[in-house]
């Protein structure tokens, strides 16, 4: 039955997917070839959409592929599939950490992975920054190119808006969600 296959396929992905959304996306492509006939370029389109819509890339891709395979129920099943292993694992780990909080081993483990987190978040940050800066449809791209300061394919306005975001949030303590809305509006205006 297609739903069971869909669920299991995405369950496996959700269980093993490590290192951030983009690594998972590659795994998804290998898996889904069994379900949907899709060219790499079509898949790339889906991934592009998954990146600019709210939510993690991996989940969005799962939802979309599930929909293409088996409609609404398919998208539900695929999404549940990819989310469930994390859910189970995290729930177990969270309850264990709570119970054994005092243990030297747990504390040592927690202290040990903190530096690793810096590296992992740094890497994830790069994967987000790169497409935003080397945008295909850069905001005001012609402006930064004309000004001759930056090479044409680097989105100068995006960099400015990024800097503005950091300033607004850190220095002026504006609520991040408002900043996002502001930047979205600015982007809509500038991008035209």
């Amino acid at each position: 039955m297609i739903f069971a296959k869909l669920f299991w396929a995405f369950f496996k992905i959700g269980a093993v997917g490590f290192g951030g959304g983009m690594a998972i996306v590659g795994m998804i492509y290998d898996t889904i070839r069994g379900f949907v006939s899709m060219t790499p370029s079509q898949y790339a389109d889906i991934v592009a959409i998954a990146q600019v819509t709210p939510g993690p890339v991996a989940v969005n891709t799962a939802t979309y592929v599930g929909y293409q395979t088996a409609g609404m129920p398919g998208s539900l099943v695929a999404t549940l599939g990819v989310a469930t292993p994390a859910f189970i694992l995290v729930a177990i780990v969270a309850s264990m950490i709570d119970r054994y909080k005092q243990s030297r081993i747990v504390q040592g483990a927690l202290e040990g992975i903190r530096p690793a987190t810096v590296g992992m978040i740094f890497t994830a940050a790069l994967t987000i920054c790169r497409p935003a800066v080397e945008a295909e449809h850069p905001l005001g791209g012609s402006i930064s190119a004309i000004s001759g300061i930056l090479p044409g394919h680097i989105d100068g306005i995006a960099i400015l808006m990024c800097a503005a975001t950091v300033l607004l949030i850190k220095k002026f303590h504006v609520n991040a969600i408002y900043v996002l809305l502001i930047m979205g509006c600015i982007g809509a205006v500038v991008g035209v």
């Binding site: 991996a58 040990g112 987190t117 590296g119 990024c162 950091v166 949030i169 600015i186 205006v189």
Partner: protein
Amino acid sequence: MLELFITFFKLGLFTIGGGVAMIPILQNIAVNEKKWFTAEEALDVISVCQSLPGVIAINMATYVGFKRKGLLGSLVSTVGVVLPSFVVIILVAKGLSAFGDNPYVMGALGGLRAAAMGLVMIAVYSIAKGVIKDWFSGISSLAGILLIEFTNMSVVLIVLLFLVTGILRSLWNTRREGVLK
């Protein structure tokens, strides 16, 4: 419980580009606004969620939900964080991808991506600040970055390496204290 759902619904709605962008927003809400955690506890939550397989956004939702309201809470928060993206993707799939050529939408998305870039930088800075407190944590953080970025070593292995090192170090320190006493 409703508060939990709404909080993570908002987080799921406004996290674009990558789960890491959620971190500063979550930190602000959980530590500053609602005082659910101390900054230290939040750091541990983030570390654990990043070190486990799966999408960090979901991991964080599940973890925080669990700490707040147990198993049911983790379910509520996870559903909350996934729901907005689910709805949007279905709309897109059903053919509202006519949106895709609308210049206003493309522009707005570009703006959101730029903002997400800023958020992500804030995340890196805040995590680094929270983690690096002495030369040891500084060097191990650097080592982590180098290992992840420049070697082919699997991330799982790297995390395990750090985990085991941390445990060994903690046991070693307790031993030393025992001897000194």
